[in-house]
Subunit: 159 residues, 2 copies
DNA sequence: CAAGAATCGGTAAATTCTACCATATTGAAG
DNA sequence: CTTCAATATGGTAGAATTTACCGATTCTTG
């Protein structure tokens, strides 16, 4: 369990975020450490939960998902039962890639992908609109992915 | 270059999204194919650009980023020069993890992570507010990550 | 300084990757 | 239907990698 992340940790995490299928040898080389130390360190970072998982990031359009939207959802003021079912149902639906609870006008920001507009319409009518306690839904179509980095700028200082 | 994705492709991509460090053997087993065929297929999916990259997904808080916000940005109507610099600068800044151009009230939806509120304030004052052509910026603090799946529900049908 | 704990780099066995093979399957043309 | 070419298939062996363990070194702590 790394209390503080070292500069080497940061380099390891940067490299693994860029390409997590690097061999341990190449990883060690980039981070400037021996293969043994590198292997141990990576394990420690995994077990500390710093690395949530290793994932293949797909091209969303080539995967057959032509439709993408940012959806702002507001719930009726705030019955806990409704909040819990909302969260549980959102987590269950594979079309919802991300969901954040936020301050501001909307309670939740979702990112939803579907095959096409028709599929999104079904998502709304058959699923989202039918959840209990939904007060307002506002859809913003995604015109273009400007940036999808998903690589976190790891902080190394007093952590 | 897969014209249509097969059911096996879909299973491969699902498995790789869940854990891209599975051994080729285990991958082949899950997708119900021989190791040779599996290895070739994965290569093909990579070369077709369906797999953008393999990445370690980090725990954002454990990485030292305690502050997260969804930021809505509107540009003054729409000078192309301003749009281009805006996009280029946004791509340069590591605090901006995602950025989508959207329909609706705001032109762009950003997700920004920083060490703390002070760092975010610097991001705004020293960077975002100084970009040319910014008409409006609205910040929504992220209270809680409800879901960060980042695994795309791959479509296998007529693609 | 001395004792204990933690970390280091190196090593070897087990596993895995990767390129190649001969065979089987597919698709088109005669 | 048959033939031929093109493609896909499963198996295999050498190369590379992973992974657990070793003694040696460094770092704490009293």
């Amino acid at each position: 369990m790394p209390e503080k992340l070292t500069e080497q940790d940061r380099r390891l995490l940067d490299a693994l975020q860029e390409n997590c299928r690097l061999s341990n040898q190449e990883l060690a080389e980039r981070a400037g450490m021996s293969t043994s130390a590198c292997w141990r360190r990576v394990r420690a970072l995994e077990e500390a939960g710093l690395v949530r998982r290793y994932s293949a990031l797909l091209d969303i359009e080539k995967s057959g998902l032509g439709f993408q939207a940012i959806v702002h959802v507001t719930l009726t003021r705030h019955d806990h039962r409704h909040v819990d079912t909302f969260i549980a149902e959102i987590r269950r639906r594979s079309e919802v890639l991300d969901c954040y609870s936020t301050t501001g006008e909307a309670d939740y920001h979702l990112r939803v992908v579907c095959r096409d507009l028709a599929a999104y319409n079904r998502f709304l009518e058959d699923f989202l609109f039918r959840l209990p306690g939904i007060a307002n839904v506002r859809t913003n179509l995604v015109l273009k992915d400007i940036k999808q980095h998903s690589a976190v700028p790891v902080q190394t200082g007093p952590g």
